[in-house]
Amino acid sequence: MGAMSPAADSVAGRTSAPALDRTARGPRHPALVRVTHWLLALSFLALLVTGLEILLSHPRFYWGETGNVNMRPLFKLPVPSSRDTVPTGYGYVLPDQNGWSRYLHFEAAWFAVLTGLVYFAFGLFQGHFWRNLVPTAADLSAKRLAKTVANHLRFRRPGEEEAWSYNVVQRLTYLLVVFVLFPLIVWTGLALSPTVEGAFPAAVAVLGGRQSARTLHFFVTILLVLFVLVHIFMVYRAGFRKRVGAMITGRASQSQEKA
């Protein structure tokens, strides 16, 4: 694997830089991708922690327009609550953290959305999406797909060419996160704003109603958390210091992946 050309993934002619001349090659990750990656990681952490705090004030989920403790929930989480009005079965009530959690949740959401917009613009206009995320036709062949998936399932360490280019499973996963999960988490979150619901009622109605939007917001959060966990695990498998280093400095190491 280590001897394979780094350009192996650019069969269809989509290659970012002169593949063989390493000195002429740009950074592994463009500076804008590196900066937005860490800003989004930071916002995600803030959104997750504050989101969980807000959730604790009513750890029950409903489907439809309305839901409250007088109504049957779709499901409830087996956790204590920060409000004494919620029957949880626990004999105690957690401290109320909603105030600062809500403030920080929305501030971090602005941060994430604005950073995301910069990333989107860069991805579209600088060719990042097309060059680095959209899989090549060869990548999407059944054989290639099966092999990449099998490599993942066997937890096989990636070869050197993958230090320079995303494999097809990575590409599809990142596309899913960027074009499906991220827009969905923003949409379901905005759907919880009474003012936004007033201005764009259809955006809430098509989700099934206000409480459905809240439940979907939770489900999409779970998918994003799963993504982050697998992502971190994969980075660890591929060589944590090297890969994290590449996302910070832009420099990918050449043949020390096994180190």
Partner: protein, 252 residues
């Protein structure tokens, strides 16, 4: 220092200066158009200001979503309030005939209104949801008279920018900007689902602000104060909510 890095330094410096002055101009403009919330100076005030400004610019005249009669919640819910005390009980026993809503501040004719007087004003109803910041919600029909009608009756002055409103419960007071105060769906509500407004839901009088979360719809309102500046109310953050760590604007 090489020429390139000097040039870089100059461009970066210019860009920073342009950015900073751009921000300063944006801040001035935002303040002039009433896009800065009174709690913009708190720890997370930047995000709060963005939310308030964005929602005011994009949705200033939007209506709260209304529902059909069939969608009214059969099982509404209201958070319990602290005991209202002997004086409230006395007023309740008198069917709230002695309840008064005082309107003062920047109005031409400061005065008070009885519940019966308010009921004699144009009667409006809306079927809207109450959503608590905790996450739960219900839909109900709200009956009342638009707050704008009460403000007209007292002769609110043109320079008024906020309405501060107080509850019978002394530690619950709020304020809204004129976009919400003059909004046709902002009611002084006295009825719910065809009947009187139950005490648990804020009777005899509750301010309904349907474009914001439930905590802006203060129960048991006793006083409205028209003002052009919130600095002199409480700690100057606009309402009791920011003093307790919650955002003044609850449109999200």
């Amino acid at each position: 220092m090489s020429g390139i890095s000097r040039r870089k330094l100059i461009t970066t410096g210019l860009a920073t200066a342009a950015g900073a002055s751009g921000l300063a101009v944006a801040g001035k403009l935002a303040a002039r158009y009433g896009l800065i919330p009174p709690d913009s100076g708190v720890l997370y005030g930047a995000g709060e200001t963005l939310t308030y400004a964005a929602q005011r610019v994009l949705t200033r005249h939007s209506m709260a979503r209304e529902f059909s009669r069939a969608e009214i919640s059969k099982e509404p819910f209201a958070n319990e309030v602290a005991p209202l005390g002997a004086e409230f009980q006395r007023l309740q026993q008198g069917s709230f005939a002695e309840w008064r809503l005082v309107v003062d501040g920047m109005v031409a004719r400061p005065r008070s209104f009885s519940v019966a007087e308010i009921k004699s004003y144009p009667r409006r109803s809306q079927i809207t949801f109450v959503a608590c910041e905790e996450g739960w919600s219900y839909i109900a029909e709200w009956i009342g008279t638009p707050l704008s009608h009460i403000l007209d009756a007292a002769g609110a002055l043109p320079q008024v920018r906020y309405i501060v409103y107080r509850s019978f419960q002394p530690d619950w007071w709020e304020s809204i900007d004129m976009s919400d105060a003059l909004h046709p769906q902002t009611f002084v509500a006295y009825g719910m689902n065809g009947g009187d407004l139950p005490i648990g839901f804020g009777g005899p009088l509750r301010l309904r602000v349907p474009r914001q979360l439930g905590y802006k719809s203060v129960k048991y309102i006793t006083r409205l104060t028209a003002t052009d500046d919130l600095k002199h109310f409480g700690k100057g953050l606009g309402s009791a909510s920011p003093e307790g760590g919650y955002a003044w604007y609850a449109g999200i």
